[in-house]
């Protein structure tokens, strides 16, 4: 029974929230007047709930109790990070466009943002708040008050920095916009809570690549919230590589609303973190809106990863497709929870989801929970889940042709995961995926014969 709030509860570490209670305020940029009361309201919401526990249906399989054992640094001082220590761009080096965040704060000196198409803005939330960008304030004020769980409330209570991307109507941004989020260690594990916004105007097109890495061995707590608003016929692709430190706790919520005929693609590749959760909420608000939510994960050791989705078919002729594929080793655990809601008047809707896992060890485990709530009648929905070992026949076939066993396994794992990329047509992800599979398979402890 880990009761986390009030903080002086017997099981809780009395220190873990003390820094949070002090609240942000030592930020460099001035906050607009509307912000402090909003933060305070959110802080109250969080304090009333405490961290999610496993009695909450959405958190049945993912346990954050470990957090309460940590004393965290809620306002880490800007860490020294050398540009040379940053990883290469996810999609390769040829075109540099990258905004770098360290412990949740945008660091212009480490970033490289070239001229973007007319009217396109890529900046920090701190900057956008200070300059009072109206689009940003409007969307934030609308989203901040939405009661969507304790961790979102925690993030709402801390609104300070993050990235902001605004693409005006009819603008196509060809260059993938990369966001590198770096976590660093520290005497106390840092806690940081970036708030990101992607606002895509009508008929705009943009691809965002989020790369989360840890430049430390130790742990930290990242609680990321990203709000996406895609106007009519906009196409937004969101690609995420979560390669946090193996001790990190990474929790992310992405909340997207889609206008008429808009399209949102998400691909999340999960590699890192001791405990991680990637939660997507997509509202298909306009008729003809359409989303594809895909993911691939490679976890081993004692890692726990959770992919949770909720798609709301609020309008007719909306489509959603979900495919999550993962490979587990050691004592790793993976969770996939997919909720699909079809509203009463949302006819001619299609919603499909599939979760497939490869269990390379007997001690790894996957929990799948599909939930369909269908209130319309002209609807095609499906869900499915599989879990199994590598195909022994395929492995033997490859070996009998001269492919060494390790390489054959690697090839089969790659092929298995690639399907999740192919479905979102993010060809740029193929190479990073292959490289990571090779690295992961190479580092993987060999099973004792």
């Amino acid at each position: 029974m880990a009761t986390l709030v009030p903080i002086d509860g017997p099981a809780a570490n009395p220190d873990w929230l003390s820094g949070w209670r002090a609240g942000p305020g030592n930020g460099t940029a001035a906050a607009p007047d509307w912000l402090p009361p909003v933060r305070a309201e959110a802080a109250g919401r969080f304090a009333a709930r405490g961290l999610p526990n496993r009695r909450i249906e959405d958190w049945r399989y993912t346990n954050l109790a470990q957090l309460t054992g940590l004393e965290l640094d809620w306002a880490p001082a800007p860490a020294e990070v050398a540009k040379e220590s940053l990883p290469a761009l996810v999609f390769g080096r040829e075109a540099d466009c990258r905004l770098v965040l360290v412990n949740g704060q945008v660091r212009p000196a480490l970033s490289a943002v070239p001229a973007l198409p007319e009217g396109t803005i890529l900046t920090s939330l701190a900057e956008a708040l200070a300059t009072g960008h109206p689009g940003v304030a409007d969307l934030l004020r609308e989203r901040v008050t939405v009661d969507d769980g304790a961790l979102k409330a925690l993030n709402d209570s801390w609104l300070e920095d993050g990235y902001v991307l605004i693409v005006p109507e009819d603008v196509t941004v060809d260059l993938p916009i990369e966001i590198l989020s770096v976590g660093t260690g520290g005497a106390l594990p840092p806690a940081y809570q970036p708030r990101n916004l992607i606002i895509a105007g009508a008929r705009s097109r943009v691809t965002v690549v989020e790369h989360h890495v840890g430049l430390c061995i130790g742990g930290y707590f990242a609680n990321v919230v990203t709000d996406v608003a895609a106007g009519p016929e906009a196409i937004v692709r969101h690609c995420k590589v979560q390669d946090e430190s193996k001790e990190a706790i990474h929790v992310a919520l992405l909340d997207a609303t889609l206008g008429r005929d808009a399209m949102f693609d998400s691909f999340c590749f999960t590699l890192g973190g001791r405990i991680s959760r990637n939660e997507l909420r997509v509202s298909l608000d306009g008729p003809g809106a359409h989303c594809r939510l895909n993911g691939a994960y490679l976890v081993g050791g004692h890692q726990h990863c959770d992919h949770t989705t909720a798609v709301d078919h609020a309008a007719p002729e909306t489509h959603s497709d979900q495919l999550y594929k993962g490979v587990l080793d050691g004592r790793a655990r993976a969770v996939f929870q997919g909720k699909v809601v079809v509203r009463q008047d949302a006819q001619q809707v299609e919603g499909h989801q599939m979760s497939r896992a490869l269990l390379l060890s007997e001690t790894s485990e996957v929990n799948t929970k599909p939930e369909l709530f269908i209130h319309a009648d002209d609807v095609q929905c499906s869900h499915g889940a599989t879990a199994g070992d590598l195909d022994a026949e395929a492995l033997f076939y490859l070996r009998s042709r001269g492919v060494p066993e390790g390489q054959a396994r690697q090839l089969l794992v790659e092929a298995f995961l690639n399907e999740a990329i192919d479905a979102v047509a993010l060809a740029g992800m193929r190479l990073p995926l292959e490289q990571n599979v090779a690295r992961w398979m190479g580092e993987r402890p060999q099973p004792t014969p």
């Binding site: 195909d391 033997f396 076939y397 009998s400 001269g402 060494p404 090839l411």
Partner: protein
């Protein structure tokens, strides 16, 4: 080249091979015929090192070394190739990728230099063309959605690219139409040479009109019960296996 002596093997605790003796010299082609369930595919799997096949007695010498000590990939590097009776589908791995890993896997194991992308492409295209296989087929996932005959042809393509010293063809002729049979047989014959040997498992004498064997063996009840020249195949087709199976009992 290959010398099988008194080979006993079981699958899932069930004895299938009960003392197989068979020797194939360099350059020779031997045919193995025999009723369904007599252990022909089991023999081919034991030779290629598939898991789950327990050898309880006997030995297999390949080029003078003990074949049974090697992993499947090492057997391939030593020059052994099995054309599967039921080729395996591998979703997500294209034929090209498969062949590249196979060929380079063999070369690395042998300490030879790998082919570069251009050389490889040229080689595969040329071999595929000879077998009447389109580029499109090379880009597709290995055997996924291939017709029965296409799968068999794909096995021969792999053999043509990998150029094994010893090939076991397990019913490569079943499922092939007459034209395909001819093409596959041409592919096999193109590989014949003084340093290469083959073991051709088949139910049909027809294949042996195209791939003329030096010896024909009958496997029944997990043993070679009769061996003879190519005329034995004709005799079998007339008489059926009954007489031979009785002899094995």
């Amino acid at each position: 080249m290959l010398e099988i002596k008194n080979l006993h093997a079981s699958v899932g605790g069930k004895p299938i091979l009960n003392g197989v003796d068979l020797a194939v010299a360099p350059g020779e082609v031997h045919a193995v015929m025999g009723p369904n369930g007599s252990g022909k595919s089991t023999l081919s799997y034991v030779l290629s090192g598939r898991d789950g096949y327990e050898v309880s007695d006997g030995s297999v010498l390949f080029k003078g070394g003990n074949l049974l000590d090697l992993d499947p990939e090492e057997r391939a590097a030593a020059g052994l190739f099995l054309a599967f009776q039921y080729p395996v589908e591998i979703p997500g791995v294209t034929n090209m990728t498969f062949l590249k890993h196979a060929l380079n896997g063999l070369k690395v194991q042998r300490g030879e230099e790998e082919l570069d992308a251009m050389q490889f492409l040229k080689l595969v295209r040329q071999k595929a063309k000879a077998l009447g296989m389109s580029d499109d087929m090379l880009k597709r996932a290995v055997n996924v959605g291939f017709s029965g005959g296409e799968k068999k042809r794909n096995e021969i393509l792999q053999m043509a690219v990998l150029e094994p010293a010893f090939a076991v063809l397990d019913e490569t002729d079943s499922g092939l139409d007459i034209d395909a049979l001819k093409i596959v047989a041409d592919g096999v014959n193109a590989l014949r040479g003084p340093a290469r040997s083959m073991l051709v498992i088949t139910h049909y004498q027809r294949l042996l009109d195209y791939i003329v064997p030096d010896r024909v063996h009958v496997l029944a009840g997990g043993r070679i019960v009769t061996s003879g020249g190519k005329e034995l195949a004709l005799q079998l087709e007339d008489e059926g296996y009954g007489a031979f199976a009785a002899r094995a009992a």
